[in-house]
């Protein structure tokens, strides 16, 4: 049996992938960090620029940036004295691909169940019209 990589069937991932996703989702769990990532989709930014929209200190923003960096969601570089943060999209794409897999699994399953239930209801109606008082399938 093949278990490498993501189990696309249910979105339940192999263990090594779980660890990486854990870091990504841990990083995404905080609204300030999500706002920072959204800001970085517009381009690189310094700590001062990233702090501006929030009523939190620059050291607090720096701590958030460290979490994002550990999760692989940003890269950091220097422009003279300023440290610039850049978005790394790949872990996010992987995370959402996996999540989409889980959601799609159940949505598609339930759509198939809708179709099956229509068929079962029609079968019941037919049987009931044919005089079967239980309306139950005996198959």
């Amino acid at each position: 049996m093949e278990h490498s990589g993501t189990d696309v069937g249910t979105g339940r991932p192999a263990p090594s992938f779980v660890t990486e996703l854990d870091a990504v989702f841990g990083a995404l769990a905080d609204p300030i960090r999500r706002s920072i990532l959204a800001r970085l989709t517009e381009g690189e930014a310094s700590v001062a620029e990233l702090s501006a929209p929030f009523s939190v200190s620059q050291p607090a923003i720096s701590r958030h940036l460290k979490v994002l960096e550990r999760a692989g969601l940003i890269l950091r570089s220097r422009r003279s004295t300023a440290r610039l943060s850049h978005l790394r999209a790949e872990p996010l794409r992987e995370a959402t691909a996996w999540l989409a897999g889980y959601r799609d699994f159940w949505e598609e399953s339930y759509e198939r169940l809708d179709e099956l239930l229509v068929a079962l209801l029609e079968e019941r109606t037919d049987r009931s019209q044919a005089g079967d008082p239980t309306g139950r399938s005996t198959s």
């Binding site: 996703l21 959204a38 889980y102 339930y110 169940l113 239930l117």
Partner: protein, 160 residues
């Protein structure tokens, strides 16, 4: 029919989903507990589902496989706890690719005017296990957290 709703409360190792079906409860119950019906809907169409066993009674075990065209197969197994009834059932769920990571799933069926709402409550071994395995980013109905993720990713995908 309603959209599937997914709720994952922060700090609690569980995920709740709800979905309403346009059919009476006894039919929905049969579709969940009779293997010859279950095999017709569980999982995306691109996978072939094989049910090895599905013994829907207290202490009964189940195991099924989802196989893709490339020959990859993913196995799942678990145990029923208590006799399933049209009001619902309880089972454990384990993906064989991550042995020992088990969730306990409680499924309840509520009928209202010929429609049936299926509610699933999956309890994981820790918040971390839940977040990593299932919950964290599913968009609709998340009570906290990842509502901006889709928007963010849409921006990322649009960015070359």
């Amino acid at each position: 029919m309603t959209q599937m709703q997914v709720t994952a409360e922060p700090g609690v190792p569980q995920v709740i989903t709800t979905r309403t079906f346009d059919a009476p409860r006894d039919l929905v119950f049969r579709a969940f507990t009779e293997p010859e019906l279950l095999v017709q809907w569980l999982g995306p169409r691109k996978y072939t589902m094989t049910i090895e066993r599905y013994d829907a009674r207290d202490g009964g075990t189940w195991r099924y496989l989802h196989a893709d065209d490339a020959g990859n197969a993913f196995g799942f197994h678990g145990v029923f706890h208590g006799d399933p009834s049209p009001e619902g059932f309880v089972q454990t769920f384990e993906f064989e690719g991550a042995p020992g990571n088990v969730s306990m799933d409680t499924l309840t069926l509520e009928e209202d005017g010929g429609t049936t709402t299926v509610r699933t409550n999956s309890v994981f071994q820790s918040v971390e296990a839940r977040d990593a395995m299932v919950a964290s980013g599913m968009e609709d109905g998340m009570s906290e957290g990842y509502d901006r993720l889709d928007e963010l990713v849409a921006q990322l995908v649009a960015t070359p």
